[in-house]
Amino acid sequence: MALIDIDNLVFGYGKAAPVLDGVSLSIAHGERIAILGGNGSGKTTLAQWIAGSLPRPGMTARSGTLHAEGKPWSDWDALKRAETIQFVGQIPSQQISGFAFTVYDELVFGPGNLGLEEAEIRKRADWALDTCNLRHLVERDPFTLSGGEQQRLSIAAALVMQPKALVLDEPTGNFDPESREKLLNQINQLPEDLTVILCDMALKPALAIARRFLLLDEGRIVADSDAQAILAHPRTLEVFGAPAVTEAALAIRAAGRWPEGKPLPLTYGQAEALFKEVSHAHG
């Protein structure tokens, strides 16, 4: 059974134009999927539906359905839902519970609510401290951490719930390049069976993490494919721009000098080798 099944979902706030306009999507367990979209494309709203923070009273679908493991979120109890999916939003300080005076207490807050055994809670917290590189901060007040540290803490606090899926909404938006690299590596080292759903409007983080890419444009899914096909999609360049090395290759392709069928470089690592081959072919 699919983890998430969305069928023709139409949703909007108040009487305004729909934010999601007929979205159909199925996400299997263990997928690494990126939902890409520009400003106002509806990706954060879609992420909230997937994570079960929508629908809410007064904010329901105009039509269409969402099923998580076969039943709508509204049929799930709060406990099971928290153990199934976790959402980490964009603004780090807003992801802190406001219940804990230390980083450690913030981490054990969720599992404490689940009613787990004490030993199990400590084991999970230990694992999350290492995974998200927070060990040196255990005694700190969560609200005195930097934005990047808060972001790592909120991801750790989601992981200790041991969900089946983790939804991340622009997780590296507040990071400088160095910390971004580190966080993406940490996400890549998460257990294989954890489903990761990344919403972003930068291609770099998505290319580093995801294997499947959705392109969301004005509330509709306009592409659902692998990295190469997404980069070749006409809307991609317009909305996201491409990584600089890809953009360079595209300019060369536009001049008719990039060999037919040769893949485009997506990262710097690929670029050096590919450009050397292409240069060599041209002598």
Partner: protein, 261 residues
């Protein structure tokens, strides 16, 4: 720069770290003790209240919080004493008021003032003893582990935690508005006019925070069960349990006696 210089546990707390006998007491025992002292001060003559004040103050010094005590007590009681003296000793006309040239003074008024002052001093010192020796995190854990509904614990924790981020944000808003031409140096009229520009973003952002935090709490299964599992809950010794029970029985009895007599 906002967090620079602030201590690791936030700056809004009066807690003084330590390992004294009172520090080690279960926070609930201290809380009940505080309630009992409050009820008791209404029964005692000024001498008794002064004894409570001196005793709690000495306990505070023993717990290593002497400095914090003196600072707070002077800051709060000083102006309060002057205020009381002026009202009761000088301004209110009594039968024993002595007129001496341009100043009038009433010994009875002064005595009445002294009575109020020692009562407030006793209450204040007892509260200080509680907050300087009890880290709020420990109070939370004690409440949680005694089956107090988590919502109540949250009401205690979040204002303490959010005070500092809230004032940091107020400063950021003030900066942002000044940098786009808002005059905060002018007449009081100009400042009143500037007020919405400072208040509206603060309220808007607080509401947005509230909305997000509710989602976060849901996501962490807050209140999905009636009780939470608490790690490192403060120790609760049998004698403390008995002491709390005794005090909890004593409080309504004392109030009853007071009303009866």
């Amino acid at each position: 720069m906002i967090t620079q210089g602030s201590s690791q546990t936030g700056t809004a707390l009066l807690y003084v770290p330590g390992n004294s006998f009172i520090h080690r007491m279960n926070p609930l025992t201290k809380l009940v003790g505080l309630l009992w002292l409050a009820a008791t001060t209404f029964m005692l003559p000024p001498g008794g209240m002064a004894t409570i004040f001196v005793a709690t103050f000495l306990f505070g010094v023993l717990a290593g919080a002497g400095k914090a005590f003196i600072k707070r007590l002077i800051l709060t009681l000083g102006p309060f004493a002057i205020f009381l003296f002026v009202i009761h000793g000088v301004l209110i006309e009594r039968h024993d008021t002595i007129q001496h040239e341009w100043i009038s003074f009433s010994p009875e008024g002064a005595q009445y003032m002294l009575k109020i002052l020692v009562r407030v001093a006793a209450l204040l010192a007892a509260s200080m003893l509680f907050v300087t020796t009890t880290h709020p995190a420990n109070l939370l854990k004690a409440l949680d582990s005694h089956g107090v509904p988590p919502g109540i614990a949250y009401l205690i924790a979040s204002p303490l935690l959010l005070l500092e981020p809230f004032s940091a944000r107020a400063r950021a808003i003030r900066d942002a508005q000044q940098a786009r031409g808002l005059d905060l140096t002018g007449s009081w009229k100009a400042r009143v006019k500037a007020f919405p520009a400072l208040l509206i973003p603060l309220v808007t952002l607080a509401l947005s925070d509230l909305d997000h935090r509710a989602t976060v709490l849901d996501g962490r299964a807050f209140r999905a069960r009636p009780f939470r599992v608490v790690l490192d809950a403060p120790v609760d010794r049998p004698y403390e349990r008995w002491l709390r029970r005794a005090l909890l029985i004593a409080i309504p009895l004392q109030i009853g006696v007071l009303l009866w007599l």
